[in-house]
Subunit: 419 residues, 2 copies
Amino acid sequence: MAKPNLFYAQSGGVTAVINASACGVIQTARTHGDQIGKVYAGLNGIIGALREELIDTSKETASTIAALRHTPAGAFGSCRYKLKSLEDNRAEYQRLMDVFKTHNIRYFLYNGGGDSQDTANKVSMLSLKEGFPITCIGIPKTVDNDLPVTDNCPGFGSVAKYVAVSIREAGLDVASMCESSTKVFVMEVMGRHAGWIAGAAGLAAEHEGDAPHIIVFPEIAFDQSAFLKKVQDSVKRFGYCAVVVSEGAHYENGQFLADAGGKDAFGHTQLGGVAPFLANMIKQQLGYKYHWAVADYLQRAARHIASATDVEQAYAMGKAAVEFALAGKNAVMPTIVRKPGKTYRWTVGEVALSDVANIEKPMPRDFITEDGFGITPKARAYFEPLISGEDYPPYKNGLPQYARLKRVLVSKKLPVWRE
Amino acid sequence: MAKPNLFYAQSGGVTAVINASACGVIQTARTHGDQIGKVYAGLNGIIGALREELIDTSKETASTIAALRHTPAGAFGSCRYKLKSLEDNRAEYQRLMDVFKTHNIRYFLYNGGGDSQDTANKVSMLSLKEGFPITCIGIPKTVDNDLPVTDNCPGFGSVAKYVAVSIREAGLDVASMCESSTKVFVMEVMGRHAGWIAGAAGLAAEHEGDAPHIIVFPEIAFDQSAFLKKVQDSVKRFGYCAVVVSEGAHYENGQFLADAGGKDAFGHTQLGGVAPFLANMIKQQLGYKYHWAVADYLQRAARHIASATDVEQAYAMGKAAVEFALAGKNAVMPTIVRKPGKTYRWTVGEVALSDVANIEKPMPRDFITEDGFGITPKARAYFEPLISGEDYPPYKNGLPQYARLKRVLVSKKLPVWRE
């Protein structure tokens, strides 16, 4: 009987280190050639499985696979595609089973957030019913850091490092110009539901007066008068004010600042972006000259400034997923477990997929200062090790050299999938 | 007689490497203690001279001064302040002369763009008339790269590297998600009058289909239908489209896209930002899901990804300025001279301040492709060496460690300056 193959797919928004997890999966599988046949990767994630578009990773050289460790974004393609419930669309699950059976896939490793862990869990259960058991292992990934149980999520540490470095640098810029020019700088960061990323930017402020002076969290309802007062205080005390705002910042009634009914507080239509919204509010109310930045994808793709801890953990999660599969585990996800003690140490744990599927972990209230605009020492202690260490990609002619895959597809054997 | 002192000031928008020039000035002056007394730096640039707020750099340790080499922004403070003409405000020039005489300042090194070189030139001429000759040397600086004569300006190479790295990384992100999500990404970069920065982003595209697919230059009047057609072509061919747009992009009639009369093409009020403007235009006309980023100060402050060539040149300009002064030169500025040949080599040249003052160097038309949306091989050959090499700052706890100065002011001896 042919050795069982392994199917790996990337899911949801990509990160600076999701390919490091892919690298961990493929390199580990290759060292177990006696038990695992080929590693197939879904072209554009789970969509690739439905369409029977399977990338044969055995066609990629060892050096290309090694280069995945330092390559941002999803090298095989990812997707925003959530399988419906089994009841609502059994055909999709059936198709997955058909593709898996046809290509002798007995291992399914799904690299994503809460939705993906839910899908992997369902596939596992269905495969048992079908009498074609598939070992399903989740691999955690999300810049939002909102998966439960695991101490942190691969992808988060690098975006955290990016935002902290960026606000430190831009803060110095504003500080040096504020006497005669820009007095307020607003940087918008990701995190629609949780303020983990915004909070990490707070690491940049080590001494009194350092940027950022204000963080606007999605966990705290936006209080315009308290905010403006703090902006003014900062300008008076330090000469300038650097603000980090989460894209998920909202009013008491839940309305996002970024799309306050399509109108800002002054009746102007918004083209999106909470940073320009706040900057304009400050200009109107306080008269300060401002600049603003929206890092958007730059922050989650910034492999050039990735956290070495994050890269190491992303790789370890991919490696552990394969090892779990070979150890006969099923419907579980490896986790990062922080060991007690002052020196940061971590180890690999595990959790049942059913315990992480579709659960969001908010940032604890005691990570945020009482006034709602900063982070506490407890938050710093949590964040700091996650951004530690640098892991630079190789450069050529001044630019980082990222993996370019051949992405050779396996021959199709099934009818075309009608979407 | 006391040894003459040297006055150094930073001017205009700061960069990732202007402090490397300061480092070059101070370290070089310190090795010539027999000829130069103290190095004073203007607190907030030339404003510091007018207010008699002179930072005594001799109070900073050798290691702090060395750390300036890897510290972004203006460590002594910079300003946007242009002296009026001699006729319009002779009092300002007189005040400068008074401060210089009072503090025995015989060397004036002014680190800035074209305006600053103009000021330095005027001070030189006035000092001769006054019978208190001051040696005035300019030090080139501007992210915009628009100073004439010098092959390039310190500060440009690092912002060029930042934008090229950023669009490469964000491009990979969009490429991996475009099958089911974002299809168009627009990144706005600096350069209100010249497209040097936008052009440098083009270095990221090494193979066909690589980001960026479109660059919108201020040198080319914006043609909406040609632009939209190219966006559509890119999405059809490559699955996505990554756009880099200069903040100075404008219509044929000179109107900036970013502030098209306060209204965008659809009658919506703009809060600023040409990136959201273009992204919205694409959504309205072509229906593609989009994301956009505005890097703003992040790009010019990004010392973490500085070009090693840029750092080296910035330092060399500061060093050369002191050496020029000691060699008896006056009213000149060191320049970067590119030597002929395939391998990039450069040397230090010089130019009279009168030949660089208030002159802007536009990007040559033959750096831009015929369709107006890309860069030519000639442009690549020019840009590439300028972003070459990495020069990472030291890190601690995951964050770059930048110099923190004491900024001890010299005792004032003159009446308060009335502004």
